[in-house]
Symmetry: C2
Subunit: 334 residues, 2 copies
Amino acid sequence: MELIKDILAGNRRALARGISQVENGGADARALLAGLYPHSGRAHVVGVTGAPGTGKSTLVNALARTYRARGVSVGIVAVDPTSPFTGGALLGDRVRMRDLAGDPGIFIRSMATRGSLGGLARTTGDVITVLDAAGYQRILVETVGVGQAEVDIAGAAHTTIVVEVPGMGDEVQAIKAGVLEIADLFAVNKADREGADHTAMALRMMQGLDPNAGHHRRGPGGKHGEPGLQSDGSWLPPVLKTVASQGEGVEALRDWVEIHAGMLRDSGELARRETARAAVTLASILRDQLLAALLAQIPDRILLELIDEIARRDLDPYSAAEKLMPALAGSPSL
Amino acid sequence: MELIKDILAGNRRALARGISQVENGGADARALLAGLYPHSGRAHVVGVTGAPGTGKSTLVNALARTYRARGVSVGIVAVDPTSPFTGGALLGDRVRMRDLAGDPGIFIRSMATRGSLGGLARTTGDVITVLDAAGYQRILVETVGVGQAEVDIAGAAHTTIVVEVPGMGDEVQAIKAGVLEIADLFAVNKADREGADHTAMALRMMQGLDPNAGHHRRGPGGKHGEPGLQSDGSWLPPVLKTVASQGEGVEALRDWVEIHAGMLRDSGELARRETARAAVTLASILRDQLLAALLAQIPDRILLELIDEIARRDLDPYSAAEKLMPALAGSPSL
């Protein structure tokens, strides 16, 4: 396949075309991914997630710049599952492109759902695979950090940065509880605003840290000391203050990403995460393909009748599913 | 099944137990749903969705109270997919219960994901079925309105209220684009704050309305007039200002819900939505059951080896799925 060779050779136009192909799905996408997959697995994937208004995009751009300053190539994938029907994704590309334009070491791609419910996490994973195979050394994946789909997407990342801003209300504090588990690093962005220290303190408290201890006193337990790798092998997420628009604190953030990446490699955790991700991806593909194979065997008439029965409340959906399940039995073609 | 009888008889303790059973899944849940499903389909399901901090919970409680004032029974399902591992859901129940306590015409249930990715939308649908069968006339489903999972959950609602607050920034405006399609009604809550009129105007503009026309001038097209049912049969979502904490505007909101419900019934749109929902539910159940049936037939050794090959990049996940698909062929037991 010519496209595979061109992508591996670093042709940007081929890369853009390949990503579109993967997004569109189908047999072409599968052939492309099969060809590229063996060349992937070298990039470190960084998820950047946070509520709207936290300045994620600016932070991602700033982080990309600090990587470029070290000569490291960067792919950026901006995922916005909340605007399925707008041209916002394409527009977003243009705006970002202007900011980081002309640098061959950076490739930016925005994604929207295009109406395919649930499939976004997998498509994002496929796009990451393409950028990875194309040789980008760090891949930054930006998602809106509220909701299950975003947590699923974060599952594709090796290192997840959760972005907060000073002065969030009580309800937002509750949301933090949900993302606490997926955070490897916290960035308190827009830290020149009032309340940054308070927010940083709150995040440390939620990790069970003594909020007044700061990050300079190592306590007796594994969870009361400096952030990073603990003596018991666990990882205590650092809380970093950044002002992304000024580039402040972004180099420190980059350095922490690298420390976390090194820890993942050295501890064998990276291999474990890759295995878990492989299992989830395989299950997701099988779910869709099995359903498609089953439905292809059931005549429309029978299927539509069952659906009508469910809608009319004459039959519950679980019993309907039971009725359809045996239809696979006598099919050697599957 | 004794539990089914007790739930249909209006026993609250049985109802709570039934919902827990449904949440836990398995054969018991399926038997319960099969028994209750024929008794469901009478409730009108209202989705209430919005970003954190918009006051959704307060609005849902206030809306429930205005229904109770008319003698209509109300079930409330609060879904929070962002806090999978916390006890927040249970705590939320207690706080709400205190507010609406002692009223036998109200039943409140909070749900968290409990770690089951993707399954939340279906479980929410099942819980709605149980409350519906138990005789609750209106079911209010509250979700955090950012992200795909929440849009999926909103798919179970007949009428969807999108809640906004005055003074949201540009990035939040972009999110509105994503929820615009699912909104049947807009509530600008906390409307005593500065900027409420501006937000209401922005919402009308996003619907392609003349923002200065207000709601009192009917234009020449189908999309430039008063909200509600248009001459071409389409529905133009009204934009309502509410102060939920004071109960202001909440009766008008309730009345609009009823107008929308009537329109859905009269136009046949309700039946169409029920059919679409039945199809989605059936597909979701089949996906999971097919995968389970397939995996049950594949020896652990083979499965784990394939996953390792994927993780090591020796095999891409689509090719791995292809290898597994034929394993179904010779299985008459499926």
